[in-house]
């Protein structure tokens, strides 16, 4: 099977403006700098509305930044064909969208779009991804939309992994999951990172998940990277007041984005 080697991602001085409801332009991201090393798992934590989802959308060019640049293994992504770029970067959006049809249909989707032969239910690569995502074989024939949200989250992850990206980017993958399911997904991500030499960037406000799985972490607040470092150091010994406040606020407040 194809195992992509991990890509590095460098985000340099990225700003993003967007018009608000009154048509005035608002700075969503204000000079973001971030480095995801090859084969590492990095998390970006921060309150909702801090710019995490926008940052994610810039990485696979669902949007282009107002200024600054993003390099994938040294090449400015603005110069890459977006379709090629999206092969190298697998993005898992926050709400898993399931296409009509079975789980297998959903897993084959990327190949369908690329006009490549569809992997069969006994394809070695597909079986490996299923195992990695802890999806049982008998799910393949089920209607994807009848699955639980946790299972849909996994199908969405498996669907992206199957296309063999070199960088995996996830937006709040645990927001709809209960604690045990979220922890399990965290372990899955660690396995993926190790077994596939994959670089992973995860946006989340789930601090417990971030602390458990990440090699590196960054704190994104009000459109700025306030602090970054090894995750153990960042969470145990935060330097900035904003991060200290964020870490000590109750979980439900972090999710609602009342902090910061």
């Amino acid at each position: 099977m194809r195992v992509a080697s991990g890509e590095t991602l460098s985000i340099e001085e990225v700003c993003q403006l967007r018009p608000d409801a009154n048509g005035r332009s608002v700075e969503i991201l204000r000079g973001v700098n971030l480095e995801v090393p090859a084969g590492r798992l990095m998390v970006v934590v921060g309150p909702s509305g801090g710019g995490k989802s926008t940052l994610l959308r810039l990485i696979n060019r669902l949007e282009d930044p107002s200024s600054g640049r993003i390099l994938l293994s040294g090449i400015d992504i603005a110069t890459l064909d977006p379709l090629q770029l999206r092969r190298r970067i697998g993005v898992v959006l926050q709400v898993p969208f399931m296409y009509e049809g079975t789980v297998l249909d959903n897993l084959q989707r990327a190949f369908f779009f690329r006009d490549e032969p569809l992997p069969a239910a006994n394809d070695a690569g597909l079986l490996q991804v299923l195992e990695l995502c802890r999806l049982s074989l008998d799910l393949l024939a089920r209607q994807a939309r009848s699955l639980s949200i946790g299972q849909q989250q996994r199908v969405s992850l498996a669907r992206t992994l199957l296309a063999a990206p070199g960088l995996l980017v996830l937006d709040e993958p645990t927001s709809a999951l209960d604690r045990p399911t979220a922890d399990q997904l965290g372990r899955t991500l660690q396995d993926i990172c190790r077994q596939r030499q994959l670089s992973i960037l995860m946006m989340t406000h789930d601090l417990r998940l971030a602390q458990r799985v990440a090699d590196h972490a960054a704190f994104l607040d009000q459109g700025r990277i306030v602090e970054t470092g090894e995750s153990a150091r960042l969470f145990e010994n935060p330097h900035s007041e904003a991060l200290k406040n964020f870490l000590s606020s109750p979980a439900d407040q972090r999710e609602d984005g009342h902090v910061g």
């Binding site: 977006p82 898992v92 969208f97 990327a110």
Partner: protein, 261 residues
Amino acid sequence: MSGSVIDLSIIDLVLVYGLVLIAASLARFNRIGQERDLLWSSLRMIVQLLVVGYLLKMVFTIASPLPVLLILLIMGGFAVHAVGARVKEKMPRFYQIVGLAMFTGCGGATFFFCALVIGLTPWYDPRYLIPLSGMIIGNSLTGASLAAERLTAEMKERRQEIETSLCLGATSRQASAEAVRSAFRAALIPSINAMATMGLVFLPGMMTGQILSGTEPLLAVRYQIAIMCVITASVAVTSFLILLLGYRAFFTPAHQLRIQP
């Protein structure tokens, strides 16, 4: 005595307009406050139809292609304008797209029917060309409005699906295929329903008119069948073109959806 129509004099018309007054007084009596609208609309109808009548009479006597083409162009312009009035949320480049689609769809259907099927002589014979293309344009207008309206709505409703597809490497065409299909389906529904109930609920206008003016009923039926087929094709081509040109307007060349969260 087929071929001759009973004359309707001005006095007859005055008599009939009395019926509108009955309707208006009923409205007044029940205090629904619409008697003024009713009278105003009836006056508008009279003036508009008279203008059209004199215009047609003029075009019939001039017997030259230019005024006929001019009238067709004006009808098309009004139709595009009407589509614009019906569709609230317009896609980018709305008027160019709708105009081009209606010109191709309606123009093509009218040409096929008038020139190739019934073989008009002269080719611009206003007695056929104007009412037939009027029916084609009028029906395509409904299809065009539905297609344009549904496309924008589908693009918004399916934003999540479309962006998931883009993330999985789809082109903008692949990512919007479902939205386009669904809008196309909506655009065809009125034509399908109209054909299925044709003749059951009421007699279609063109057929009724032909029968009234003395055409043999079975010939009128044949014309009705023909015009319905032509209308269906025109609706399909017009809506399809709107969708084909329209979906691109929602994406950048870099396969990015312009509708942002």
